[in-house]
């Protein structure tokens, strides 16, 4: 039986600035099943990182969750106290944040930095606790395919791919149920990228881990995710299993986005980009946020917000009044 691990319901997160309110995440719903990977894609600034930070409750001061519920294994994370949430981080859910590779402290060894997290989380500052933590550091190195003899190395002694593995090792050190990985392969070469993706898939099946995989690269999602969520301007526009979204995508934005990826397979044709620019989220257009750029837009789209509803199957959700209609 498929068990839902994470359920995000009607999440809205806004940034309250001096003169405006940025509606970065607006009424977003999705789920992640145990042992499955959900790939979240969309243009820069569409709210992917803000969604992740909301789940982790790590928003910057201007960011506030104004509505919604976030259930992890049936428990609403938004109802947890700060202290409870602090305990849950790394142990229940962990986060590989965007640009994390560059965030290692250069004057501490990689192993020390991972051990520090474990010691804090397990609350084991005793001598035996520390010993146990170092044992776990070694294990976590093994999990991600790094040589355990290198726990005493400094970050600059690691290549980009090795640092990214170490970041994943740190995220996995306390056996979380959910891993949120924000652009974990973006700065890497294809060969290293492929290895990291394979690693994540292996860890996932070995530990029945749920993964939220954020990237703006749909090719990477196609390679590694079970389900796909497409965001546009703070809204979830389409969610479904990878095959359905890539081959039977029903939202015009999804289909236009997929078309805008050059591929090394098939014919090499000129690709036309989606015209226009994403809206200013402090001042989003009324109705469907995609309407100024959508070839299918009608009067209704300019007035009403399309509901996020099941489309071809109960798992496939789309927010569009003209879902599935042909784009000329």
């Amino acid at each position: 039986m498929i068990m839902v691990l994470l359920e995000v319901k009607n999440l809205s997160t806004h940034f309250f600035l001096k003169e405006s309110r940025v509606r970065a995440v607006d009424d977003v719903c999705f789920t992640i099943d145990q042992g499955k990977t959900l790939g979240v894609a969309g243009e820069s600034g569409c709210g992917k990182t803000t969604t992740a930070l909301s789940i982790m409750r790590m928003l910057p001061p201007a960011g506030k969750i104004v509505n919604g519920e976030i259930f992890l294994d049936g428990v609403d994370l938004l109802k947890k106290s700060k202290e409870e949430m602090r305990k849950a981080k790394w142990k229940e859910l962990s986060y590989v944040f965007q640009y994390a590779m560059n965030a290692f402290n250069p004057v501490m060894t990689v192993g020390e930095q991972i051990a520090e997290v474990i010691i804090e989380k397990e609350n084991s500052k005793s001598k035996s606790g520390k010993k146990e933590a170092w044992k776990k550091v070694k294990e976590s190195f093994e999990i991600v395919g790094l040589d355990p003899d290198r726990i005493k190395n400094y970050p600059h002694e690691f290549s980009g791919g090795m640092k990214q593995r170490a970041i994943i090792a740190m995220a996995m050190a306390c056996d979380p149920k959910l891993l949120i990985a924000d652009e974990p392969v973006t700065a890497l070469d294809v060969i290293v990228e492929k290895k990291i993706l394979k690693l994540l898939n292996e860890i996932q099946s070995n530990y029945n881990l749920g993964i939220m995989f954020i990237t703006h690269d749909l090719s990477v999602i196609a390679e590694s995710c079970d389900d796909v969520a497409i965001m546009y301007a703070g809204k979830m526009v389409e969610v479904g299993d990878a095959s359905t979204v890539f081959h039977k995508g029903a939202h015009p934005y999804t289909r236009m986005l997929i078309r805008s990826f050059p591929s090394i397979l098939g014919e090499c044709k000129r690709i036309e980009p989606i015209s226009g620019i994403p809206p200013d989220l402090a001042n989003p257009p009324p109705g469907c946020r995609f309407h100024p750029r959508c070839p299918l837009a009608t009067k209704e789209c300019r007035k009403d917000i399309p509901p996020f509803e099941p489309f071809s199957t109960s798992r496939h959700h789309v927010a569009c009044f003209h879902a599935g209609e042909t784009i000329l």
Partner: protein, 328 residues
């Protein structure tokens, strides 16, 4: 492209070795060691042709590009620009030639001076080189802005870089390169940091400008899908050496060299149901110091045999393309 097309660059055995830093004592005890960043590479670039330089991080792509513009002094070899070897000519003469050759950099967030208006950023090369009469400056800047689609020109002229999106900033970099009417442009990963839609916009822009002005472009990328989209010919580098070069479609559809095969088979494609055979290779690209006597790819090559370890394969022509492998 006809065979009578003018050749812009002929590169012969171009070499750049960087001395590695050694301690005082090391210098006495040991021979000086070198990073062989670019190690005897030869190729041509014709007018109106897009040549793609592809390879993993550290393979020597940027160093090769900097050598062509003489931003770096070569350790050896020839750089024949329109019949004249510029490998050793003096800086003053190079400066005169440089207006014909321009470079666009990877990071649109770092490559523009934040204190300058867009007008100043684009007119700067005109001021510095002084090749066109001052009275033309305004007209030339306006034309460059128009060419890259930053319209209305009057509005974009007075903005600052931080007031632009990543894609718009990259357009500014391109305008800055265009303003001197170059016949040759080096674009070093100009679209890799941008999201899919903006990336296609920039690639299309380069394609249009290249055709309109019949420019030669050296397009540097680690993304073969982008290379295929824009390029006519491809050069694949591994640790400072060319492993394969030829017509881009031929190389991508039927790579000869084991490294090219591995690289191409690991490129993600935007289709979750695509069934592809993967060639896995061990480890990550090492640094080009202390290279083994034989084939530099041997330590990671799944096909290596005895000869590979003793003797270095030369670049050989076969079926209309060059590759450097004993199996070929």
């Amino acid at each position: 492209m006809s065979s009578t097309t003018k050749i812009l660059f002929t590169i012969k055995d171009l070499r750049k070795w960087f001395p590695t830093r050694t301690g005082l004592l090391d210098g006495i005890r040991r021979r000086q060691e070198y990073v062989r960043a670019v190690d005897d590479i030869s190729f041509e670039i014709k007018q109106g042709e897009v040549v793609c330089l592809v390879g993993e991080s550290g393979s020597g792509k940027t160093t090769a590009a900097r050598l062509l513009l003489r931003l770096e002094d070569p350790t050896g070899g020839e750089i024949i620009y329109k019949g004249k070897d510029i490998a050793k000519v003096k800086e003053r003469q190079i400066r005169k030639l440089r207006r014909h050759m321009q470079m666009i950099f990877q990071n649109p967030y770092e490559s523009l001076d934040p204190r300058m208006t867009i007008y100043d950023v684009i007119s700067e090369p005109l001021q510095v080189t002084n090749v066109f009469p001052k009275s033309e400056t305004h007209k030339r800047v306006a034309k460059a802005l128009e060419d890259v689609g930053l319209i209305p020109v009057s509005e974009f002229s007075i903005r600052f870089p931080h007031e632009l999106s990543g894609g718009q900033r990259q357009r500014v970099s391109i305008a800055r390169a265009l303003v001197l009417d170059p016949e040759f442009i080096i674009a070093d990963e100009p679209a890799s940091m941008l999201d899919a839609n903006t990336r296609i916009e920039i690639l299309n822009l380069l394609q249009d400008l290249q055709a309109a002005y019949n420019m030669g472009i050296l397009f540097i990328t680690h993304d073969l899908a982008q290379a295929r989209y824009l390029g006519h010919r491809i050069i694949i580098l591994y640790l400072g050496k060319i492993v394969e070069k030829g017509n881009i479609d031929q190389v991508i559809q039927n790579p000869h060299h084991p490294y090219s095969k591995a690289l191409i088979s690991n490129i993600p494609v935007p289709d979750p149901d695509a069934k592809r055979e993967r060639i896995e290779i061990e480890g990550e690209i090492p640094t080009a110091i202390n290279l083994p006597p034989g084939c530099r790819f041997a330590p990671r090559c799944p096909f290596q045999f005895e000869k590979c370890i003793d003797e270095e394969p030369e670049l050989m022509m076969k079926d209309g393309r060059y590759s450097a492998c004993w199996l070929d």
